[in-house]
């Protein structure tokens, strides 16, 4: 199979504009005859479904949630990037493009990333028009802040609830199309298979989660916007139900999975507290605008803190190691996530960790509180303010900026992080890998498109903060609605697809057999316990640091776990009823298959880049060592069949505009 990224010819900055004005169009009366299935109602799915409905297509939209508004995008906290240059700080489309390519450690396609940067500004305009209440300055104009890996302030936000506000904007646009009859919404429906007719994606099999019935849906094209697969690690910052099933089922039907080992570990999450733990909570990257990350210089101090004999604030200034500022003076606390995570892990591995588990460092707001307090006091005409006044005023500013984050931290840990430094540790957060797509966001299966976190396209080996929301909305509002026309223009004379076709019947009965299979094992162990074990293997051997020996071992462990799953799983209940355990069983089974592929991919990639850190490939200072000669390619994997090796297809990455250099944030 020859992988063609279908990147338009021409100068980088003109590709998209030229392509857009020359791509095939579908006339309005023909759109009315074409059906499109959109699976997922997060930022990527809701925006796509709404926009396609507005254009005139008949859209059927699916979510396993009880409402489109519950998609995991709702939880995004910190913000969304856009190259508006409102601050006049030197931002531009090119700079956003460059930061993203560099941040991704030169493992993304230039053309896709440039397009993303080009449409970023329109996203903000669109959202404001929809009534998204972004943060504003006193003059009434939009406020922005900094995120990691950049030296400009291009991140738009709505307190610590940016994802919620953007998703509600997209949900409202979707709701409007539902009310106009252009989108048919199927809540509590989980896609469990892709139906292909004559080599094209023509429908899905979905389970109605209330009745348990399997249902068939057909369309001329299928769009997946089903999110990321971070939950393969069990513990992650993703919502509990995020899963890979929709994407993985298409891989089983021939779609390629690209760079599955590229996962992002976020440096600032609330550390694990116990075995019963069900998920990890992110403390937004925006906090690194004001939070200074440190660990005690002396191991004795770290130990005293771990044993509860000392507190963070007892450690005098000179005994604190602000290690990000020390190691990376140019970017300081705002280095990209992969760099910050590894630095924190290194401190803990060296014995400077501070939680009882030894796996935490501090993020401290004392300096920011004082700085803001003084500035606000002076703005209010208070001369020589005392310490308490400064603190009170400074804490107020922190509340205004990050209100819900500090509240969330306190609810979970019982500590007030304005008074005592926050404890943080890296956790799985995002997956850069995903379904392989070309420039049109079409997978290698004709008629199957993938948008948002479930595709691999824009972030290379490491995503910059506030760029996932940008990508999801770029794909859904401004890219897919056009590019899907390149496929649908060839389908205008295809009549409505019948769900009575034998392909639908076959896919339905395969799905039924699979689900009945889980129910019939009747062993002893719960789905959850398998998921936890899988997560532990993945985190230990395919997490923040990987090496060939560990990966080889892990592959065998995952295979053994799969065998045990098939022989000792217990799923209560039946197929034809509301049965959350059965839903989970199907998802965990797919996570295991994906987990193995991630390991294979990590083993194949004999280099370190972005979030993929192979301990064998590092510099003397412990920085990632890329191998551009050997690995400047997208690794797109074809499913090989049960018990068979997956097949690697490469798409070479060609850099015409930027020259890959060793990534430095010093």
């Amino acid at each position: 199979m020859k992988l063609d990224g279908k990147i338009p010819a021409g100068a980088l900055a003109e590709k998209w504009t030229k392509y857009r004005s020359s791509m095939p169009l579908v006339a309005p009366h023909n759109k009315l005859r074409l059906d499109v299935i959109v699976v997922g109602t997060g930022l990527a799915g809701a925006s796509a479904a709404a926009s396609l409905g507005e254009l005139g297509y008949n859209v059927k939209c699916f979510t396993f949630h009880d409402s489109p508004r519950r998609a995991h995008s709702i939880a995004a906290q910190g913000g969304i990037n856009a190259a508006k240059n409102y601050r006049n700080d030197g931002d531009s489309v090119h700079r956003l493009f460059y930061d993203t390519i560099k941040g991704g450690d030169y493992r993304a396609r230039e053309a896709n990333v440039h397009r993303l940067a080009e449409v970023s500004g329109s996203i903000i305009d669109q959202c404001v028009a929809q009534g998204v209440p972004f943060a504003r300055e006193y003059g009434g104009l939009l406020d922005t802040r900094s995120f990691g890996g950049t030296q400009v302030q291009r991140t738009f936000y709505a307190k610590g609830q940016t994802g919620q506000q953007l998703l509600i904007g997209a949900y409202q646009a979707l709701s409007r199309q539902i009310s106009l009859g252009k989108v048919q919404m199927y809540n509590r429906h989980e896609m469990l298979d892709l139906v292909m007719v004559d080599g094209k994606a023509r429908g899905i099999i979905a389970r109605n989660l209330v009745t348990g019935k399997l249902e068939r849906f057909s369309a001329h094209a299928v769009v997946l916007a089903t999110g990321g697969y971070g939950n393969v690690f069990y513990l992650s910052t993703n919502a509990m139900t995020c899963n890979v099933t929709a994407a993985w089922r298409t891989v089983r039907r021939g779609a390629l999975m690209a760079n599955p080992c590229f996962t992002q570990i976020h440096p600032t999450c609330i550390p694990v507290s116990g075995d019963y733990q069900s998920k990890l909570t992110l403390m937004s990257e925006s906090l690194r605008n004001d939070g200074r990350v440190w660990a005690p210089k002396k191991k004795e101090d770290a130990q005293a803190i771990r044993e509860g004999r000392k507190k963070g604030k007892d450690i005098p200034e000179e005994d604190r190691d602000y290690f990000l500022e020390r190691k990376y003076p140019a970017f300081g606390n705002l280095v990209p996530r992969d760099v910050a995570s590894r630095a924190s892990k290194a401190m803990c591995d060296a014995g400077h960790g501070v939680a009882p588990t030894g796996l935490a460092v501090f993020m401290d707001f004392a300096a920011a509180i004082e700085r803001y307090g003084r500035s606000r006091a002076s703005a209010q005409g208070i001369h020589n303010p005392d310490k308490d006044t400064i603190t009170a005023l400074g804490e107020k500013v922190i509340d205004e900026k990050y209100d819900n984050l500090f509240a969330m931290y306190e609810k979970i840990t019982g500590e007030n992080a304005k008074k005592t430094p926050m404890k943080i540790y890296p956790a799985v957060h995002y997956t850069m890998g995903g379904l392989w797509v070309d420039y049109n966001l079409q997978t290698n299966i004709p008629g199957l498109f993938a948008t948002g976190e479930c595709n691999f396209s824009d972030h290379g080996a490491n995503r910059l903060g506030a760029s996932a929301l940008m990508q999801g909305l770029a794909d859904g509002y401004f890219v897919l609605p056009y590019t899907i026309g390149t496929f649908l223009a060839g389908e205008i004379s295809t009549p409505r697809i019948s769900t009575d076709l034998p392909e639908f019947a076959a896919a339905e009965s395969e799905t039924r057999a699979r689900l009945l299979g889980f129910l019939s094992v009747n062993g002893k162990q719960s789905v959850e316990s398998f998921h936890r074990r899988l997560g532990r293997i993945m985190w230990e051997y395919c997490g923040m640091a990987r090496n060939a020996e560990g990966l080889t071992k892990a592959r065998k462990m995952v295979q053994d776990l799969q065998a045990e799953f098939q022989s000792d799983l217990f799923v209560p209940g039946t197929l034809d009823e509301f049965n959350p355990e059965l839903e989970k069983a199907a998802r965990v089974a797919d996570f295991m298959e994906l987990g193995e592929l991630m390991i294979v991919d990590a083993l194949n990639r004999n280099e370190s880049c972005g979030g993929h850190f192979r301990t064998e490939y590092q510099t003397e200072e412990g920085e990632a060592m890329r191998d551009d000669e050997g690995y400047a390619y997208v690794a797109a994997w074809e499913y090989g069949g049960m018990g068979k090796e997956p097949v690697l297809h490469r798409e070479d990455l060609i850099f015409e505009t930027v020259k890959p250099t060793s990534r430095s944030y010093k």
Partner: protein, 251 residues
């Protein structure tokens, strides 16, 4: 800690339902309320019994999925907190805790603690949006919005659509939810164009869905995990009155 749970079990919408009692011995104070349910469900599965169905997703208080009435209070005893963010340090060793689904005519029970809240979606579909297509709107900064206005709008937009306000209300009214959406949009200059029609359509749909009338009990505000203010209800009433009386707005 030892905890006794009395949980509502109901197989499906047709089942009458009943409370069942469960005893847990190994609850720690750092556990979240839902993690306690995970532990209980694991025990039930070990005994090959049917685990308790409850809804949850983000476990961070933002998705609005979790929905339980804990000791008579939607989302439990802690002010401004969803059930998923409640931690066991709020309870004492030996406590008995009663857990039920949100109860309202417009929220039928589907299974155990899971209810159908799609009525909220239909209310939004009736007018809870600004009618703009994806395209080329004006530059975002060409429309300044005073900071206070943006913040007031944001506070209303912080509603997570959980339905606790309905569960808390003796009339099962959805006025807090509806008024939060109306305020979010109507306060902004972008939302003013359709302000009256929005208020009318959403109130009409709310009535159609079988939610009760608001009689100013204010229990909704007290139980709302996002502390949405009942001032929004007053604002909605004003908007509705001015739009209903002598207006030609078509709904």
């Amino acid at each position: 800690m030892k905890i006794t749970l009395k949980v509502w079990r109901q197989k499906d919408a047709k089942d009458k339902g009943r409370f069942e009692t469960y005893k847990l011995d190994n609850v720690t104070e750092h556990m979240s309320f839902l993690e306690m349910f995970d532990v209980l469900n694991e025990e039930l599965i070990q005994k090959k019994e049917t685990p308790i169905a409850f809804e949850h997703d983000c476990r961070e208080g933002i998705c609005g999925t979790c929905s339980m009435v804990i000791n008579g209070r939607p989302h439990g005893p802690l002010q401004g907190t969803t059930a998923c963010q409640l931690h066991m340090r709020m309870f004492n060793d030996g406590d008995t805790i009663v857990v039920e689904p949100f109860r309202a005519r417009a929220f039928p029970v589907l299974c155990d603690l899971v209810v159908d809240r799609s009525a909220f979606d239909r209310i939004i579909q009736s007018g809870g949006f600004i009618s703009v297509n994806t395209g080329q709107p004006q530059d975002a900064n060409s429309l300044p919005v005073p900071k206070e206005v943006a913040e007031a709008s944001f506070s209303a937009a912080a509603c997570i659509g959980c339905g606790a306000c309905v569960a808390a209300c003796p009339n099962a009214s959805a006025m807090l939810f509806v008024s939060a959406k109306v305020s979010h949009l109507n306060l902004l200059p972008q939302g003013k164009v359709e302000a009256k029609r929005r208020a009318q359509s959403m109130v009409k749909q709310m009535d159609l869905e079988g939610f009760g009338n608001c009689s100013n009990v204010t229990a909704c505000e007290a139980e709302c995990p996002k502390e949405i203010s009942i001032k929004n209800i007053a604002r909605l009433n004003r908007e509705y009155m001015s739009s209903a009386v002598g207006s030609e707005t078509e709904v």
